[in-house]
């Protein structure tokens, strides 16, 4: 599946934990597989899969919160994927990740889809069921928040 990495990255953006994201991606891929027969009917399988992932992750988060099983935000550092190593090489880059974790879900998703996956506004609108103007506002807000927090960190001189 050519876009499974995209699904995974979106899942990880929302769920934070690597394991959770992997499970979610696997779940989505299985669901897609079981729909194998009529998958041709969807005109855009990737968008469909992304929407599935989004809904699945939001459901997961909701059930987590309801079940008092909040995700542990500190458990993502212990894997040693190449990304993690790269991130450790540059501390301020890992801040961006942490800052993004603190954003509201909507902003997280918009920022992920736009700045990481480079989707255009129409696609994002289709995925998140939002109007282009709303996306622009959300995106602008998210970018400004990230920049501001990053500047705060810089001015504290931690890095």
């Amino acid at each position: 599946m050519p876009f499974k990495d995209k699904l995974y990255r979106l899942a990880k953006r929302l769920l934070v934990s690597t394991e959770e994201a992997e499970d979610a991606t696997q779940e989505i891929l299985m669901k897609l597989w079981s729909k194998n027969d009529n998958i041709g009917k969807y005109n855009n399988v990737e968008a469909f899969a992304m929407t599935m992932t989004k809904n699945f992750c939001l459901d997961r988060l909701k059930s987590k919160q309801a079940g008092n099983l909040k995700l542990v935000h500190s458990n993502y550092g212990d894997d040693n994927s190449s990304l993690q190593k790269q991130v450790e090489a540059n501390d301020s880059i890992s801040w961006v990740q942490k800052i993004m974790e603190e954003l509201p879900e909507q902003q997280k998703m918009v920022l992920q889809l736009r700045d990481v996956e480079e989707y255009d506004f129409d696609e994002i609108g289709e995925l998140l069921d939002m109007k282009p103007t709303a996306i622009r506002v959300t995106l602008s807000r998210a970018r400004k928040t990230v920049r501001e927090r990053l500047m705060q960190k810089h001015s504290y001189g931690i890095g």
């Binding site: 499974k4 990495d5 699904l7 995974y8 990255r9 990880k12 992997e22 991606t25 696997q26 891929l29 299985m30 597989w33 079981s34 194998n36 027969d37 994927s81 190449s82 990304l83 790269q86 991130v87 540059n90 301020s92 880059i93 890992s94 801040w95 961006v96 990740q97 992920q112 736009r114 700045d115 990481v116 996956e117 480079e118 255009d120 996306i135 622009r136 506002v137 995106l139 602008s140 970018r143 400004k144 990230v146 920049r147 990053l150 500047m151 810089h154």
Partner: protein, 143 residues
């Protein structure tokens, strides 16, 4: 010039009005080494985005080939089970009927044989009576 343009792009970027190509330009610009100090703070942001795109889904997904076939299989199994059940009920009924008939037959036979027994016993007794009659006749004849 270049720097001027980048600053303008950044402004547009923060207002979310840049196009995808312009954002790509920003990303490539901030991926280089020498960035003016007043813009340095933006670098981690763009570097992170390019890096986050590199993340790969490495977990091996077990391909559920069996899922589809098994489901079809289960469907047919249920059909077969229903068919077997129907046949079972039908033949079971038939068998029960047959058994009832057999039972009735054997009961009737028993009853008839009982009757026949008693009847023959009755005739035996009647045979004694005949003997009595014969003797009486003999006596009458001799007198």
């Amino acid at each position: 010039m270049e720097l001027d343009r980048i600053e303008k792009l950044l402004e547009k970027y923060l207002n979310a009005s840049t196009s995808i190509t312009e954002e790509k330009e920003l990303r490539t610009y901030f991926s280089q080494e020498s960035i003016p100090t007043h813009l340095e703070q933006y670098a981690p942001m763009f570097q992170y985005f390019s890096m986050a795109k590199e993340e790969r889904f490495t977990k091996q997904v077990p391909i559920p080939i069996t899922v589809r076939t098994r489901r079809v299989y289960f469907k047919w199994v249920s059909v077969a089970a229903v068919a077997v059940l129907m046949f079972g009920i039908y033949f079971g009924k038939e068998y029960q009927k047959q058994k009832e008939i057999d039972y009735a037959y054997s009961e009737t036979k028993k009853a008839l044989s009982l009757l026949a027994d008693n009847f023959s016993r009755g005739t035996e007794k009647v045979a004694y009576l005949n003997e009595f009659e014969n003797t009486k006749q003999k006596i009458y004849n001799s007198n």
